[in-house]
Structure formats: structure tokens, C-alpha cells
């Protein structure tokens, strides 16, 4: 997924700020935001929990932020998501890069229906992928998926739905972002 196209969708959705922490999947977008992201401001946090609280404050102040973190950091940040965006009904879209998704899809065909603890220690699986969707479901964050550039219109749709419902929404990014060719 080209970072430039992703950024264009964010601009079209009226995003003012991106708050998050880079990983290998999102690095190209962070680089683009850092070196000429146009109108959109980048706030790199030290832990993912900060991202949700910072985004809540930005929204209360009149901005339209988006959160961009990895699923590993998402697991670290549960109380912040619960206590800010969810509890305050803040309409923010949270893009979560889905580490381990490709391996999980190759080995299991997709997320397992139930988590057998034995799966969590298997060397051919990344356990963070196994627990990502069940965790999001447990925390009540409705999520869609971004699998390719063809899914980019889902970003704008998610912002519109999030506003409509006055709730945060998640989008799981299963592919890597790349710099423009």
C-alpha cells in the first residue's frame, strides 16, 4: 500500500493530526508525515496508551485526529482506549497494523474461532495476531480491515461512520505501507 495514497485519503477525510508509534508496516507513512505531510501534523508518542489520550484531547480541542499503532502496542494500551475514546465516545479512527497476520493466514487460514493456549507458543505463529481480534471484540472496538489499496476508501467511510455513531472505530492494516515508487 503506497503511503502517498493513504495520506491522500486522510487529507480527503479532513484528518488534522496523526498520533501514534511507527512499526515496519507503517514506517513509510510516518516518514512521509515527518518530511512533508502537508497539513497533517504528526505526534509520535512513547507508548500507545498516550496515543488514545492525546487523540481524545485533540478531538475535544476541535481537531480531527487519527491513531496509528501496531497491534502489540494496542494490547499494552487497553485501559487508555477504554477510559478515553470509548468512555468519552470520541469519534476517532484507529488504524492498527496487524503484525503476524500473514503468517496466521498461511498457517491457520485466518484468525482461529477460539484460542487454544497451545497456539500461543507455536513457533510458526506470532501470538499477537491470534489475540488481536478477540481482544478488540472484548473491548468493544468495532473493526474493519485494510488489505490492499483497493480498501483505502474504507478510511473515509470509517471517519463518517465514527462521527455518525459518536464512537471510535478500528481498521486493521494487514499489508505493509511502502514509499512511492
Amino acid at each position: 500500500m503506497r503511503a502517498a495514497l493513504f495520506l491522500r485519503e486522510l487529507e480527503a477525510a479532513g484528518v488534522t493530526d496523526v498520533v501514534g508509534l511507527p512499526d515496519n508496516s507503517s514506517a513509510a507513512l510516518f516518514a512521509r508525515l515527518q518530511h512533508g505531510g502537508g497539513r497533517i501534523r504528526l505526534h509520535t508518542v512513547t507508548r500507545e496508551g498516550e496515543a488514545f489520550a492525546l487523540a481524545a484531547g485533540l478531538w475535544m480541542g476541535g481537531a480531527r485526529p487519527m491513531v496509528l499503532i501496531q497491534n502489540t502496542g494496542l494490547l499494552e494500551s487497553g485501559d487508555s482506549l477504554r477510559g478515553t475514546l470509548m468512555r468519552m465516545r470520541v469519534p476517532v479512527v484507529c488504524v492498527v497494523t496487524y503484525r503476524g497476520y500473514a503468517k496466521m493466514k498461511r498457517v491457520l487460514g485466518g484468525p482461529p474461532a477460539a484460542i487454544d493456549p497451545a497456539l500461543l507458543s507455536r513457533n510458526d505463529l506470532d501470538s499477537v495476531a491470534l489475540v488481536t481480534e478477540p481482544t478488540l471484540a472484548a473491548w468493544g472496538l468495532a473493526c474493519g480491515r485494510l488489505d490492499s489499496e483497493a480498501d483505502l476508501p474504507k478510511l473515509g467511510e470509517a471517519f463518517a461512520r465514527s462521527e455518525e455513531q459518536a464512537q471510535p472505530l478500528g481498521l486493521l492494516l494487514t499489508c505493509d505501507m511502502v514509499a512511492d515508487a
Partner: protein
């Protein structure tokens, strides 16, 4: 050492158009000094993240000062915020750290490192250009107007005696005006107030 009222009274008197975000042991005491529409209680919210929320407000409202009344226990839960406030510097952000060395809400158990942890040193090391420490009420009162008028980010460490605030809640039974509504109602109302020029 000061009491919380020694800290909050002069602040409420000096406050003009600032947004004030409170959390934990400062929530109810601030509510006894102020009932402004620009007050926000980070209560029934995320633990340790009031300063992040206040920083977000400051970033979105650059022409308005945002004061966060954080506790020492809360600050220790999210020390990374000190770095966020300075990279790049957020000049309208004023971070109070009310240091009583205890988790007051849960019965005044000592926070880790108390009383050795030097929050002023941590703030300076993170790049705060303006850092002040007070443990005496007269000196604090005298310095406060200039502190609130100077560019930041600013960190104000106030050494206080532990209080005895019980656990926080929200609802009509709460005396403080800003605790009567749900957290969602309070957040949406502050956004509307600021959009209307509050």
C-alpha cells in the same frame, strides 16, 4: 509543605481563560474552587493519562493555555508525557505535579521512589524550559501570576501534605459541578464550549 487548598486557591483566583484538567486527588478540591465550563475532570477515565489528554487539548487550542493538575502517582504512570510536551515544545501547556508522595485515593500508600523522585529534574531532563518547585505557600502565591503569563511548556512541582480524598465517581450525588455528568457528556460539552469560543 502546602495543602492542596494552598495550591488551588491562588490558581483559581489567577485563572482567566485557561482550560483546567484535573485528575485523582485534585478533582474534588478543584471543584470546590471553580465551576468554570473550561474545567474538565479526568475522572472515570484512563489511569495515568490526564496529562496526555491535556496536552492534546493544548495542541488543538494553541492560543489558549491548558493547565493540568496531575498527581505524582499519575505522573509516574506516564513519564513519556514529559518528552511529548517538549518535542516540539508546546508553549501553552502548564503541567502541575501535586507531589504528596502517596496514592491518596486508595488510602495514601507510598508511591514508588517517594519522596526521592525529583520531578523537577525529570522535567528539566525532558527539555521543559520552565520548571518551578514550591513547598511554601507564600512563595508559590507570589510567583504564580508570572508563571501563568510566561511561555512554556511549564512544569510546576508543588509539594503538599497527603489529603484524604475518597475514590472518585460521577453522578448527581457528586458536589462538584463537573462530576455530575458522564465522562462522555463532559467531553462533548467541553468540545462544544471551545468550538463556540468558550
Amino acid at each position: 509543605m502546602m495543602t492542596k487548598d494552598d495550591v488551588l486557591g491562588p490558581l483559581a483566583a489567577a485563572r482567566t481563560t485557561e482550560i483546567v484538567v484535573t485528575t485523582m486527588g485534585t478533582v474534588r478540591p478543584w471543584g470546590r474552587h471553580s465551576s468554570s465550563a473550561l474545567d474538565f475532570a479526568s475522572a472515570d477515565s484512563a489511569m495515568g493519562h490526564a496529562a496526555d489528554l491535556a496536552l492534546g487539548l493544548a495542541l488543538a487550542q494553541p492560543s489558549r493555555r491548558v493547565v493540568c493538575l496531575n498527581g505524582d502517582g499519575s505522573m509516574l504512570m506516564s513519564l513519556g508525557t514529559l518528552a511529548l510536551a517538549t518535542a516540539p515544545p508546546v508553549p501553552n501547556f502548564v503541567l502541575f505535579i501535586v507531589q504528596n508522595d502517596t496514592y491518596e485515593i486508595t488510602g495514601n500508600q507510598p508511591v514508588p521512589g517517594a519522596p526521592r523522585v525529583d520531578f523537577a529534574l525529570l522535567a528539566r531532563a525532558a527539555g521543559f524550559p520552565a520548571v518551578h518547585t514550591f513547598d511554601e505557600a507564600a512563595a508559590y502565591r507570589a510567583a504564580l501570576p508570572a508563571i501563568l503569563a510566561s511561555p512554556g511548556p511549564t512544569c510546576v512541582v508543588v509539594r503538599t501534605v497527603p489529603g484524604n480524598e475518597p475514590p472518585l465517581s460521577r453522578g448527581s450525588h457528586e458536589e462538584a459541578a463537573y462530576l455530575k455528568d458522564s465522562l462522555a457528556e463532559a467531553a462533548h460539552r467541553l468540545r462544544a464550549t471551545l468550538a463556540a469560543g468558550g
